[in-house]
Amino acid sequence: MDSPALPDRQPIIRARQVVKVYPAGGRPVQALKGVNLDVYAGEFVAIQGKSGAGKTTLVQILTGVDRLTGGEVWVDGAALHRFDENQLAFWRGRNVGVIFQSFYLMPTLSILDNVVLPIDLCGDYHPRRSRELALELLRQVGLEEHAYKLPSQISGGQQQRVAIARALANDPPLIIADEPTGRLDSVNAENIFQIFQSLVNGGKTVLMVTHDEGLASRASRRLILADGEIVADDFVPISVSEATNKTDD
């Protein structure tokens, strides 16, 4: 368990002048126009913005899923802008848990195998121990009895909880989720949100893109993006324990 993070410590995410340009139909589109961002360990950050504002692009840059066109990004001390694809993959697999709107479970693998997969790919795989760990994670999200089903045999909300368990498999300090509740009804969305909250309480840092106003307002910090720039950030230097207390209110 991490000790409560203080804002004056080194940030877990540090982005400087991040620019991302896409070649779209011949005319390049600037998706991010020089974004600066510091996120400290233990924060629960909600990222908001309309479609096309650059939320997903920002998340992809921070997870190393996409390369930046300009600027610098350090995550947990790693200089992502200097990594190549393979280094990014390995780093990401061990240090970031990524969660998507569409769950993205491997359709042909059982729930349990889906959770073990990241350990197999870049963790310390051990046939018995990894399996036990995965079962424990599934227990945490309340799905241990579904461990041997295929993703298509459980509901969307359940699939998203499996995706969270999978994201935690290599015990990364940082969880980044892109519209994790976008495809879920309100009950399931609430459920997912509470899991995130407990993760933050457990010391993880969580970044969540959402356009659900209600959920966003309950995070410890809100960022609003518009046309590739951060237009609002209610960052207040608070300790994790305070942040937790605030959301519990």
Binding site: Y22, P23, V65, D66, N86, A89, R92, R94, C122, N170
Partner: protein, 804 residues
């Protein structure tokens, strides 16, 4: 616990059975073809060699004036001789149908089973034949027209007719081994009788031999050595008072049809390579589509921390499983089919087939290729798929594919005058150019080989036509002894329906080698110098013309056996015991290298050399009508025979022209039949490729089909759309196949021709193959598109748009 990544491979394999089946089928077809080809190649090469050797064939055959067992025993002591056996051979005719006489070559065998050389294998009935019984060789048993237990009538050169009971059928590996004529395919029916039967037939007591079979010690495949031994035997024989008429030698493994098989082997290997190539294309295509479908999963794997090499290994593992399953399926299938195909082929080429057997190297070859070829074929798509960035993979949009428009796309975009649905079909056809290219290549090559087979077949037919240019007469008449030409001409010309008669001289001679030793037999044919019944195909030099003295033209066999012999050189021959020099004026093409040494000269020259009055045994007769059918020729033959009998002239043989050329063609029919089988196999590979490509095309465009549905496309329109695309690909492939068929026909035809005749072929083309393939490819592409089209029509839009 199995690692999750391994589990993913297995789950992918099982989870998408149709697709797995397609890949496995692609690999299996290739492996199957390779298995069949390798098995046939191996079995036939081995069995032809070993089967021949197992019969303990004679290395030397000496034809001589009658001699007895005492001489044989004496000759056994000659240095180099391992075994020596005397036997008696004679020609006769047998009545295959009432009034219908065909030639039969008899060999007398000892009653007891002491015969060691040229052993025959009993196929049916009994061996050896008893008194007044005959055993027939299997290859031309059909011509005999009699079952075991039935009686046949034979007619001896003396004109006497005798009944013989057929008691058995055997296989004799040495048929055609020493014929100095056109070899195995033209050899007459072979009959075997015992000594008592010979004595009864010929009534010349005591029994004598006229042929000596010898096997040699040590290396029995070295022709030089064989000739050394043969010449020693000849000297010894002549020293003992015998008269040697001619000598022939042959190695112990040198089956008479070895060259024929070599031609076949070339075709086999050529097609084998092609099929591996095609099946590789097929795998590349399918793997490309599989990777395309798995792009999102690759993205997820990468998000979870998977590095590139892990993804490459993952898919290579999947392919390894595909390959293993394919090899396991193909190996037993190929085994069955190959050993089924080998039986009729074995009969055609007189191979002593030794039965099905386990061939470890063939299995190894299949497993090896099954594991390796798919990896190579899939390497490019896998490397490409593993290279995609996570963002592209997750969004399903390949940036690299956007915005690029080559000249071809611009051309396609400028197409006007079609309705939009047709435009969709046309543009879809060219959408995945890589896949189209591979599909077209596979289908076109398969088609080209298919078409080429027909061209090769007509080339072979043309070759048979060419052979018949040496047999232009409608009827060939051979008399029992030379008769005066004027008289026979008169008799024949009086016969109704006869237009023209030529008397031909024939002689058997032996080459005298530069060192004075005796060489091989040369069959000498001597038509009149102004003969109208030979229309030779010259390879080099010219034909014999009037005014030539001792001019001779040689067949292509001389070119391969004696490459130093050129036009203008002198060839010394021993004829009737006398040595004469002949001037080589040209080389002609006849029945190829598998035939014996054959030479033409003019009858005038021959008569001068053998110093004979104007008598002849052989006459060639042309009927009044043109292009007589086989039946008409046979009728004329019977009329001639009757006339001769009425005049008291003894006839040895009456053969129709068509019989000769059709016998010569028999070997080629088997060859082209086999070629067609292989061509169908390549066509099958091609159509699996097309089916695969079409289902992949439709699968990938499921979303677009949904859109079409949403904006008003009915089932009929969807069907038409996909069918048009498939048929367009089919038609394009036909055009390419037509173009490719020309060089491929040439390649195939030349390879066969080179092996059979020792020179490139005269290639002929027929529209049959081209048209047949057009029909086949259109039907195939319609079938290949209907299934995916029907599946597409069944999808509802919600399913389709949920595909994202």
């Amino acid at each position: 616990m199995v690692r999750p990544r391994v589990r993913k491979i297995l789950a992918d394999l099982w989870g998408n059975r149709m697709r797995s089946l397609l890949v496995i089928a692609s690999i299996t077809v290739g492996l199957f073809a390779i298995g069949v080809i390798a098995t046939l190649h191996r079995v036939m090469t081995e069995d032809l060699r070993l089967g021949y050797a197992a019969a303990n064939p004679p290395n030397i055959r000496i034809v001589a004036a009658p001699f007895d067992q005492g001489l044989v025993d004496h000759l056994k002591k000659v240095e180099g001789v391992r075994q020596a056996e005397g036997l008696r051979g004679f020609d006769a005719r047998l009545e295959s149908r009432p009034g219908e006489w065909i030639g039969i070559e008899f060999k007398a065998v000892p009653q007891d089973e002491t015969r060691q050389i040229a052993q025959v294998r009993l196929v049916e009935g009994k061996w050896p034949p008893g008194d007044r019984e005959v055993v027939i060789e299997q290859y031309k048993i059909a011509d005999v027209n009699a079952q075991i237990g039935e009686w046949i009538t034979i007619e001896l050169p003396s004109g006497k007719r005798r009944p013989l009971k057929v008691v058995g059928v055997v296989s004799d590996q040495t048929v055609g081994a020493f014929a100095s004529g056109p070899g195995f395919f033209l050899a007459p029916v072979q009959g075997y009788v015992n000594q008592e039967t010979v004595e009864w037939l010929q009534q010349d007591l005591p029994y004598t031999y006229n042929m000596l079979y010898i096997t040699v010690d040590g290396d029995s495949n070295d022709e030089t050595r064989l000739w050394e031994v043969a010449n020693r035997v000849r000297d010894e024989m002549e020293h003992a008072g015998g008269t040697v008429i001619n000598i022939a030698v042959r190695g112990s493994y040198d089956h008479p049809n070895r060259r024929y098989l070599e031609a076949l082997a070339i075709v086999l290997v050529l097609l084998g390579f092609l099929i591996v190539f095609l099946s590789g294309f097929l795998i590349t295509n399918t793997m490309q589509a599989i990777i395309q479908q798995q792009i999102q999963q690759i993205g997820i794997l990468k998000t979870l921390g998977s590095r590139r090499y892990q993804i490459i290994l993952l898919y290579m593992g999947l392919i390894l499983v595909f390959g293993a399953i394919a090899a396991l399926t193909a190996a037993p299938l190929a085994y069955r089919v190959a050993f089924q195909r080998v039986v009729p082929l074995a009969k055609t080429i007189n191979m002593a087939y030794r039965g099905p057997r386990f061939l470890p190297h063939v299995i190894l070859l299949q497993v090896g290729m099954g594991l390796l070829v798919p990896q190579l074929a899939a390497l490019a798509p896998i490397l490409q798929g593993s290279r995609i960035s996570v963002r592209e993979a997750l969004s399903g949009v390949r940036e690299s594919q956007q915005g690029r428009r080559g000249w071809f796309d611009r051309m396609i975009l400028r197409l006007r005058g079609f309705s939009r649905p047709t435009l969709i079909s046309i543009r879809n056809t060219f959408r995945r150019k890589g896949r189209l290219l591979l599909t077209l290549t596979t289908l076109s090559l398969g088609g080209a080989i298919f078409i080429a087979t027909f061209n090769v077949q007509v080339s072979m037919d043309r070759y048979v036509d060419m052979v018949s240019r040496y047999f232009l007469a409608d009827v060939n008449l051979t008399l029992a002894r030379p008769e005066r030409v004027l008289e026979i001409n008169q008799v024949l010309s009086d016969l109704p329906g006869v237009a023209y008669v030529e008397a031909w001289g024939t002689a058997r001679s032996e080459m005298i080698l530069p060192d004075g030793a005796t060489g091989e037999n040369v069959q000498l044919l001597a038509p009149p110098v102004d003969s109208r019944l030979v229309d030779p195909v010259m390879i080099e030099g010219r034909w014999v013309k009037s005014g030539d003295q001792n001019a001779i033209v040689l067949n292509e066999r001389f070119m391969s056996d004696f490459p130093n012999l050129r036009v203008g050189d002198v060839l010394r021959l021993r004829l009737n015991g006398k040595e004469t020099d002949w001037i080589i004026v040209g080389y002609f093409q006849l029945a190829g290298r598998s035939s014996g040494l054959l030479a033409y000269t003019s009858r005038e020259s021959l008569l001068r050399v053998i110093n004979q009055p104007d008598k002849a045994m052989t006459y060639r007769i042309v009927a009044e009508g043109k292009d007589l059918s086989k039946e008409e020729q046979e009728a004329l033959g019977r009329a001639i025979e009757a006339r001769m009998a009425a005049r008291g002239i003894r006839v040895l043989d009456v053969t129709t022209g068509s019989y000769l050329s059709s016998s010569a063609a028999q070997g080629f029919a088997a060859l082209t039949g086999f070629l067609l089988f292989l061509a169908s196999l390549t066509a099958l590979v091609g159509s699996i490729g097309l089916t695969g490509a079409m289902s992949l095309n439709v699968m990938e465009r499921t979303r677009e089909i949904g859109i079409l549905r949403a904006i008003g496309a009915t089932n009929r329109i969807l069907l038409k759309l996909i069918l048009t695309e498939g048929m367009l690909i089919g038609f394009l492939s036909w055009i390419i196949a037509v173009l490719a068929a020309f060089p491929i026909s040439k390649l195939l035809s030349d390879s066969i021709s080179q092996a059979l005749f020792g020179n490139p072929s005269t290639l002929a083309y027929t529209p049959t193959g081209f048209l047949l393939w057009l029909g086949a490819v259109l039907i195939l592409s319609a079938l290949a598109s209907i299934l995916p089209a029907r599946n597409a029509a069944r999808l509802t839009i919600r399913e389709v748009l949920a595909y994202e």
